[in-house]
């Protein structure tokens, strides 16, 4: 496993720091300082993000939660360098967002699986590694490892349309993991799934996160999902898109579905609900 990891790292210079990570797990992964994003439009500028300040530590699982239009997806896209901030400062692993993207520091999971329909699952997972220039042998090692991790070890040769929505999304998570990025950015990855599948995927994701020690930034509009997954919950509000409250979860890192019956779970959910409702009262 070490050999493949080292190989995967060649394309990502930051990874030289990896051995130290064990000692300084609280390294700052994302630092956002007074960031704003304005979309100009004919009927006035839209303040998608307004004066965002946020620090995400390495190894954290951070959820952005809020109603539609609160800028949670936009904020994730700014971190991923898919949108440019109008003002303010953003550092991803100590570099700016563009360098982080060019160095393939993060893996991005979209709301839709976004698998290429003309590639089978194996070829889809190979895509980012083909681009980063990994040898086919290394690619296959990574693919086998991560498809197994997401429970798709027997689906290498299947095409996307032959898989259910949940399986497609798992394949897209495996694809994001294949480059072994330090940071996983997930934009409502389970939003289109039914609740039963979603519960299952949440537990799987927690397991993968604890196995791989990655930093996860996760956008959701489900309070239950945020509580079940996160170490930190960022509550956001629209018009202008801004952070209302950052809540640190008192729950253990590795949670189970049974925890949802725990009073501490309800207390946290209610704290989030209050923060969301409070903002709506101001609206």
């Amino acid at each position: 496993m070490l050999a493949t990891e080292e190989a995967a790292m060649e394309s990502a210079p930051e990874v030289t720091e990896k051995p130290e990570k064990a000692e300084q797990t609280k390294r700052e992964m994302i630092a956002i300082d007074d960031l704003s994003l304005i979309f100009p439009s004919k009927d006035g500028d839209v303040h998608a993000l307004s004066n965002i300040n946020l620090s995400i530590k390495s190894g954290d699982f951070v959820s952005f939660i809020g109603p539609s239009g609160c800028g949670k997806t936009t904020l994730l896209r700014v971190i991923a360098d898919l949108e440019k901030a109008t003002s303010g400062d953003l550092k991803v692993n100590g570099t700016d967002a563009q360098d982080a993207r060019l160095n393939r520091l993060y893996g991005y999971v979209f709301q839709a699986a976004a698998l290429l329909p003309w590639r089978n699952i194996q070829q889809n997972c190979a895509l980012p590694m083909e681009i980063s220039g990994l040898s086919p042998a290394q690619q296959n090692k990574q693919i086998d490892k991560y498809l197994k991790m997401v429970g798709l070890q027997d689906f290498h040769k299947k095409f996307p349309w032959q898989l259910s929505g949940g399986m497609q999304q798992r394949a897209s998570i495996a694809r994001a993991l294949c480059l072994n990025p330090d940071l996983l950015l997930m934009d409502e990855p389970f939003g289109a799934l039914d609740e039963i599948t979603r519960d299952h995927m949440n537990i799987e994701l927690l397991r993968i996160w604890s196995e791989t020690q990655k930093t996860v930034v996760f956008v959701t509009h489900s309070i239950d999902e945020a509580v079940l997954l996160s170490t930190h919950i960022v509550v956001m509000s629209p018009r202008p898109g801004r952070i209302v409250k950052v809540i640190e979860s008192p729950l253990p890192r590795l949670k189970t579905l049974a925890l949802r019956d725990d009073p501490a779970f309800h207390a946290l959910a209610s704290e989030i609900r209050t923060a969301l409702a409070h903002e709506h009262a101001i609206d």
């Binding site: 993207r101 993060y106 893996g107 329909p117 083909e130 681009i131």
Partner: protein, 290 residues
């Protein structure tokens, strides 16, 4: 399948019936005029019987064309200058050559246009203007100009085929290369993919369905181009030459049989492109899905 055959046969029967009726009307009138000019009397029975047996009919009846087809395809050796197979093969050569070069040119222009905004504004008007010129007007000039620099034979004809067939490919590929999913483009962006990667791993594949739709149009256009190129240039062989000599000598059966061979050839070529498309879709794993 049964339903397919039934609908094909019934449309075919209707076409044949209309054809016989039209032959009766046209050739019958011709007969009546001839007889009246000679002040001979005539009956309808006589005309109906005679209309399908005229020497040089205005519109030959299907069985007359059929006889001519049998004569010029089966009865004559393939090497004979009177064999339609011989002529079809000459036309096919320039069709295929023109089709291959036309498709490549069409793809190249489309790639240029998609990757370069200046090329789009500078090249696109010429691409469109090229197709507004009647090919019949430009074909003899191309043949004469190329003949002056000693390029003769299949090349001038192939160039005219190419001239007609690049256009649908360009138009479809410009659209096809731009048709990739926004989400997939963003995905490639997160991998910091190069323009080359984005082209070969994303755009090229998104464009393929468009490409095959346009190749079907292009190969039919290439055949028309090859035939048109043979018409005004006094070509010695080819279906176009057969059409021309048929009209010189009033051999309508010859014209119609050449037309039917041309139509059959066109259908086979389009069908072959369709087969290639299916093979590719199956390799892409999309056949059962699509």
């Amino acid at each position: 399948m049964k339903q397919k055959i039934f609908s094909f046969v019934s449309v075919f029967a209707i076409v044949i019936a209309v054809w016989y009726l039209a032959a009766l009307l046209m050739n019958g009138n011709q007969l009546i005029n001839n007889l009246e000019r000679k002040n001979q009397s005539w009956t309808y029975q006589q005309i109906i019987a005679g209309a399908y047996d005229v020497k040089r009919p205005m519109l030959p009846a299907p069985h007359q064309v059929g006889q001519e087809l049998i004569k010029s395809i089966i009865d004559r050796p393939v090497t004979s200058k009177r064999s339609l197979i011989y002529h079809a093969q000459i036309t096919l050569n320039s069709t295929l050559l023109g089709f291959v070069f036309g498709s490549l040119l069409g793809i190249l222009i489309a790639v240029g246009i998609v990757h370069n905004k200046t090329l789009e504004s500078s090249l696109m008007p010429w691409v469109i203007a090229s197709q507004t010129i009647p090919i019949l007007a430009i074909a003899p000039m191309i043949v004469v100009v190329l003949g002056a620099i000693n390029i003769t034979g299949v090349i001038p004809k192939a160039i005219i085929s190419m001239y007609l067939s690049f256009f649908p490919v360009t138009i479809a590929m410009v659209k096809g290369l731009r048709s990739s999913d926004k989400l997939h483009e963003e995905l490639m962006h997160t991998y910091s993919a190069t323009a080359k990667d984005i082209f070969w791993k994303l755009r090229w594949y998104s464009a393929q369905p468009y490409l095959f739709a346009s190749l079907k149009v292009a190969i039919a256009a290439a055949l028309v181009g090859a035939i048109v190129a043979e018409l005004p240039t006094g070509a010695q062989g080819g279906l176009g030459a057969r059409l021309l000599s048929g009209s010189y000598y009033g051999q309508t059966e010859q014209i119609w049989s050449a037309l039917i061979v041309a139509a059959t050839l066109g259908s086979i070529l389009v069908w072959l492109v369709g087969i290639a498309e299916r093979v590719l879709l199956r390799r892409r794993g999309e056949l059962d899905h699509a």
